[in-house]
Symmetry: C2
Subunit: 347 residues, 2 copies
Amino acid sequence: MVPKKKYTISDIASELNTSTSTISRALQDSPRISLKMRKAAQDLARKHNYEPDFRASSLRKGSGRTIAVMLPKIDRHYFATVLSGIDEVAAPAGYSVLICQSFESYEKEKQLVKNLMHGRVDGIISSISIETKKFRHFEQLITKGLPLVFFDRVCENVKASKVMVDDYLGASMAMEHLVANGCKRIAHFSGPQHINVYRNRTKGYYDILKKYNMEPDEALVFKDAITRDEGCGAMQKILLLDQLPDAIFSSGDYSALGAILCARKAGIKFPEQIAITGFANEPWDSFFDPPLTSIDQHAFETGKQAATLLLQQIESKDESFVPRTIVLSPDLIIRKSSQRKKLKSIL
Amino acid sequence: MVPKKKYTISDIASELNTSTSTISRALQDSPRISLKMRKAAQDLARKHNYEPDFRASSLRKGSGRTIAVMLPKIDRHYFATVLSGIDEVAAPAGYSVLICQSFESYEKEKQLVKNLMHGRVDGIISSISIETKKFRHFEQLITKGLPLVFFDRVCENVKASKVMVDDYLGASMAMEHLVANGCKRIAHFSGPQHINVYRNRTKGYYDILKKYNMEPDEALVFKDAITRDEGCGAMQKILLLDQLPDAIFSSGDYSALGAILCARKAGIKFPEQIAITGFANEPWDSFFDPPLTSIDQHAFETGKQAATLLLQQIESKDESFVPRTIVLSPDLIIRKSSQRKKLKSIL
DNA sequence: TAAATTGATACAATCGATTGTATAAATTTT
DNA sequence: AAAATTTATACAATCGATTGTATCAATTTA
């Protein structure tokens, strides 16, 4: 489509028989321009619905007051909520937020970084894709001097600010809770161990087992059980075991969901036969049957903190900005899916 | 943060003792440049990780191959899925997708349009906010010649392409289904009637009532019951009635959810006492208890169609592009929440 | 009244890349 | 060898806005 020719600053200038520089300053209400001229220019601009061309002004000014948020997939409630938190901070500061999905693909993530790097945004907030094991693309950002903040799934060796929830603590809380509910044989679902969040949750699992002198059983540990389907698959393997576990600590709500739905077909009752906890505190956790015990990750706060760090870095004149790491404490949200106290007291 | 000085085309030019125009052409593999020079320039660009500055090239070329998607809130599964559909079409065509949330606010929506209008994107795909009743901001887009496609919640009087699901048909299907299940006193939840989707669903409700000679009862109709809380509020009013309805046709899954959870506290059983259908086919519908009957809106296909229309319009050289409207047929997904056939056969 | 100051605006460079046209050298044709 | 053509590159304008410096007139000061 052939765009209509634009109405530019020089159109205003010729209508008022003056120069573009005068108009530019008039529209910025510069005291160097007479009040009469300022009003004339502003009126004309309003009349023609004029706004500066984004590309031209950001090219000249060196900033378009835009940040990018790069995340695996926006339809996860956690990520959508982090995004709201980011917007909460960025919008009042006059920054637009550009949202990019990596769709959990390393290639797509690299592509996005390449696309964002050269003048499109002033900084990036990112949670990496599940496939990402190499971080050259992020290091390039830093080399180029583009401010970068990670959240949730971070690149630990990259010198950038990070906002994380204490996954180890979250895992410990969930495990302590299961133990307190009398569970003695606890299975574990997790994700790829090169991703910090899954590694830390799994570490919490093992450490609490150890604390209570419970022998770890590798047949009960699934390190590729994050999606609903994977949770279902893991449960199918569990159902083939001689002895069922009496609990599952899952690193994700969706795999917990898959496990429950799958096991239910086999007649397993939650929490009576198997207590289960998830991770992420998805909205449906509360109205699922049974309501799912989970770990809340303070998504909104994570977003606010990440945006604050990024804007500070962008606006800092200091060449030697020191990356900061903020760790939030998660909350254990106890619901019915994990509560077997009654059982315990009967026994 | 003071950005490191950029590595530009003219840095490459001086390293190779040539001009910027030669480098620009060399990097585009223009046959006007000698093979030797092309290779030298490309090698150097790769070595320095050079990419053209987005602002400069899009300013000059008149396009940054970017489209914007403006929607109320990205954490709704429907919208996130439409977005995936858009990406599916846009990405292979070399377009970046900029995602903007209006947060259901008219003011924020106007702000976004203003922000996007002047050189930031080549076109916009939008579903309007629930507050939006005036469309001047969209008309300005069209006046400026910026391609625009609506989906789902559309501005009916604005001359732009539209992709919609047949909400009237969806409503009719849900209602026919309830009637077929023996429901005789059907309540209805809907949203603001200035929004096409809610108006059409409500029209379907009334028309099917009429078709079966069922007297409409305004005490059973709630036109501000879209969110979970609103659904709960509507249900509370219903519970005060002398005679309960035997079914609810809700224009949204979340208000159906709120109603069920709220009524359950009062001991109401679904579907035995009240059959209920939602709208949107949220993922949790299938694992809710009872699984929720709903209308699938073909979100992914909607996104693909909208993006296709938009790209056609952007790339059309024709000044007189004629807006097109695509209407998709929804699917009724029957689950337990609405099925009372057993009851019916007993009676 | 001449000089100094202030005020208002114009000029021109710049941001970085793209592209039409001009120019110089190399090659081919007559 | 002179003319015509091709090849390779340089020059300069452009996209639209911003900003440092220069200019000119009006006003104030000495």
